[in-house]
Structures are given as C-alpha cells and as structure tokens.
C-alpha cells in the first residue's frame, strides 16, 4: 500500500507504465477523482452554508437519480442528463417558491423525495438495464475511469473559473440581496449562475460519493472551515484543504478497514468537523481572535 503514495499523475492512464498492481491503479484514480471533487466542492459548499441552502442542495442531488434514470431511458450521457435534471429542479423550485402554496421546506422535501422515488421507479421499469443502484446512491469512487477523472478536472475547472468570475457579485448577494441590488449588483443573474454551478458539481460528484452523500461533501468541509476563517476566501480555501484531507483519510481508511469508500470519506470529513468544534480548536481560535478583535461578544 505504501508504494501508492509515490505514484505520479502520468501513471493514471489506463495503461500507465510502472503500475504493476491493479490495486495501485484504481486507488490512485480514486484519490485523483476524490481530490478533484473536494477542490470544487469546498468553495461552492461555503456558499451553500452561508446561504442556508443545505436542504436545497440535498433536493438537487436527490433529483440526480432521476437524471440517471432519464439517461438510461433516453440513452443520453449520464453526467449531462443529471446536470439537466438538477438544473431543471432548481428552476422549478425557484418558480414554485415565488408563487408558493407550501412552505419552502415542505416544497424541498416534496421535490427531493419525489424525484428520488421517480428515479427508482423509472429504473425498475427498464428491466433491460442493469444498474448498480448502490453505486449511484452511495458512490463508486473505486470504479472511476480515466475519462471520469478528465470530466472531474475539466468540468470542475470550468466551475471554479466561473465561480471566481462571479465571486464578487455572488458574495454581495449572499450577504444581503437587497443591499446588493440597490448598489447595482445583478442579483438574479448571479443566483442563476450559482444554481447552474451547483447542478454541475452534483453531476460531477455523483459518481464519487453518490446522490445521497453529495451534500455532505459540500457542507461538512465548509462547516468545519468556518470556525478558523476570518475572510470568505480564507474559508473557501480551508474548505478545500479539509475536503482533500477527508478524501485522502477516507480512502485510506476504507482500504484499511474494508469500508465503503464514499461513506468513509464523509465520516472522515465529519471527524474533522467534530475536531473543529472541539475544545482544542475553540482554544486555538480564541487565541487568534483575541489578537484580531478586541471585543468579542
């Protein structure tokens, strides 16, 4: 197992040289994929935490299973189909919330679980399709291919570039939409782009942690980073670091104890979050806060 650490990126190709062991190869691919997802999920997760969109993210990711079903039904690319369905659900939610007859949380629960159930039912009807349902629900990071990794880094890179471009208006709209609007920020445009970014990340990350655990990958690293951050960008970077550490620790843990890899990554992230709210971390931040701010209330 130790040999894995020294393997380089060039050896990730399916016929990589010097990779004699199959285990090495798929494990390195898993690491590369997981780290790629963590890097994209960190900053986006911060916005989800700041905007209190956790349940919203959950709804979009549950809808991803419907996307999978549609992909099989219409013989589309799975990632594309998941993106389209998630984005569709996001806009449906925006419209429903505007003319709401139900409270937001009920609406979210309704859409989340109907989309999930609908996806499962549609899949069950397609008897000719053999689907690894567990893989879609909880992720199958150990089965990622070279093209999956290309998608994660290509798509994820694009998501990050767009996020950097809209960072300022999106952050202003996050702090207070009316203030931002009054001061000339196009709030609805940045919100719309943010929705599309969320749908993209769900489509990209689904294979790694599965539809049921994507929100955890988005939220937990960001939540763990919060206590140590004094600026939004700092929190985003810390969330990336915590996400990456979770992926590495989770994957090694799953190899060590033969546990499912997606859930193991989430458990590792949870452990880091628990540390961030533990007395040790509180003590560390107190000291730093004491230097920066004289009057903590």
């Amino acid at each position: 197992m130790m040999g894995i650490i020294t393997t380089t990126r060039s050896q990730m190709s399916p016929n990589g040289q010097g990779v004699s062991d199959m285990l090495d190869d798929f494990f390195v691919r898993a690491l590369a994929a997981g780290i790629g997802v963590a890097v994209v999920a960190g900053p986006l997760g911060c916005f989800i935490v700041w905007r209190r969109l956790a349940y919203f993210g959950d709804t979009l990711s549950h809808a991803a299973l419907l996307g999978v079903a549609m992909a099989f039904l219409l013989e589309l690319n799975i990632t594309l189909s998941v993106f389209v369905v998630s984005a569709g659900v996001a806009f449906a939610l925006l419209i429903l919330q505007k003319r709401a007859t139900l409270a937001s949380d009920s609406l979210l629960g309704l859409l989340a679980h109907s989309a999930l159930a609908l996806g499962l039912v549609v899949l069950a009807f397609m008897t000719w399709v053999r689907v690894d349902l567990m893989g879609f629900l909880f992720g199958d990071i150990l089965a990622v291919s070279g093209s999956d990794i290309a998608l994660i880094y290509g798509g994820g890179g694009l998501v990050l570039v767009v996020l950097v471009l809209i960072w300022r208006p999106l952050f202003a709209a996050t702090v207070n939409p009316e203030l931002a609007e009054a001061e000339g920020i196009n709030v609805s445009q940045s919100n719309m782009i943010f929705m599309l970014l969320m749908a993209s990340v769900i489509a990209i990350a689904m294979k790694i942690v599965g539809v049921l655990l994507i929100t955890a990958m988005l939220i937990i690293p960001a939540a763990a980073a919060r206590r140590f951050a004094y600026a939004p960008e700092q929190m985003a970077l810390l969330a990336i670091v915590i996400g990456v550490v979770s992926v590495i620790a989770g994957l090694y843990g799953s190899l060590q104890w033969d546990t499912p890899s997606g859930p193991s990554i989430v458990v590792a992230a949870l452990a880091l979050f628990v540390f961030s709210v533990s007395p040790v971390a509180v003590f560390l931040t107190r000291r730093r806060t004491g230097q920066a701010v004289s009057d903590e209330r």
Binding site: A172, V175, N176, A180, G184, P232
Partner: protein
Amino acid sequence: MLQKSNTLVSLSGAGVERGGRWLVRGVDLAVRPGEIVTLIGPNGSGKSTTAKLALGVLNPDEGSAERRAELTVGYVPQKISIDWTLPLTVERFMTLTSRINGTEVGEAVSATGVSHLRHAQVRTLSGGEFQRVMLARAIARNPELLVLDEPVQGVDFNGEIELYDLITGIQKELGCGVLLISHDLHVVMAATDRVICLNGHICCSGTPKDVASSEAYRDLFGARAAPTLAIYEHSHDHTHLPDGRVRHADGTITDHCHPDDGHHHDHPQSDEPERAGGE
C-alpha cells in the same frame, strides 16, 4: 409634482401590490441633490416599500419610478441580519459591492465613530455599532443619493441625535440627496427639508412644521404627537374602519381609500404606536 431635470429619483403614482393587497399606492415623490426628504408613517404604512421603489429593488406594479442614469446609491436597509456563518470583517463588508480604497474606508469609519471596529467581524457588532458601520458603508461609496431606512435603530437616544447630526453633516459635505425613513418626526424635524407622511398612500406632505401640525399626522401618531400640535380643527372626508374598509364623508363605504382622497384621516389606533418593527 414638478420634476426638474436634475432630480435624482422620482416616483409618480407608484404602487406595489402583493397577494391582492396594495402595500403602498399612488406615491409621488422626488429627491433632488442636496435635499433631505423624510418619509414617516406607522408600521406597515409602506415606508420601506417606498424606499425600495426609489432604489429599484422593487418595481412598481402601477405608476413609475425613475432614477437618474448611473446614479450612485448608498443604502442603509431597515433590517439586515448578517448570517453568523459568514466570516466578514467590517472593512470587507464596506467594500462588498464597490472598490473603495483604504483611505476612503478609514475616513468613513472615523466619520461615524467606528474606526476601532474596522477589522472586527461583522457578526460580533452590537446593534448600534452595526448601524454606524452601515452608515459608514453607505457614505464610503460617495453616493449621490443616500437612502436611510430607520438608520438609528438600536442606537440609544443621545446616539440618535448624534447620528442625525452626522447624517446632516455628511449630506452637506457630499451634497447628496437623502431619502430618510423614520417613525419619529420630532427627532428628524430639524434636518428635514420635506416630509411625506405615508399610510398606504400619501396622507400629507410639506415642511416638517406643516406636517407636524396637521390633523392627519396627529391621527396617525396619536397622543405622542399631540404636545407639539397647534389646535387644529376640520372635518374628515373619510374614516378607516377597523376591518380595513373606508367610510367616506357622504356615508358610502369602499374597500380602499384613493390617493386623491386628500389627507384627512381618522385612524382607530392605539395611543402609543409601536416603535420597532417592519413594514
């Protein structure tokens, strides 16, 4: 209302409807450079809605709202809570939507007396500190129009007077127009050029003195307004009934009063209007 070419913002016959109910209707107002216009009215009278119309945050469902092109606006909203999960220093908060250099930030925070909080986290501020930061934030943008929605909330009484003096000072220095919202006319009287009294529509408007001595104002604000009133008598042309309908002088009852009904109201309302609260 006359509209000069240099008007910063003007509303004419503007109204906002939500769920079949008019939050505010038939509002005419204009703010010109160097002028302080104050909106007063009880809770739910549409003051904040009117401010949002002026800012363009809300679009009118009837009438029109016009702003001068490329208008720089400084806005202090009535109720704004910063999510406690946001890591945000005061300085960063001030440069949220516009690139303001360090010197400008420094001048603005010292003008509102919060220099010491420049690097503090926004979530740790008290109510009064936060209002001062919001004000600093608004003036640092060097605005042509300042919209201040109850800017002295959470500030103690002495601080209140001080803040209004500050606002007047800033306004003189920047030469900007100010749209000020307050529920307390007395405190802002000295600083105000024109007062518009709202209660779903414009009840009365004019100089602070005229408004303070008007029947409509006393009816809206009850006993607290009474001490400053001259004895003033005339008949009402319509009465707001408790169920929201309106009885007119001729005895007819309608669902709404109309903006052109004039400014004579009798509102069945408690003597002491609530001070805090939203629109």
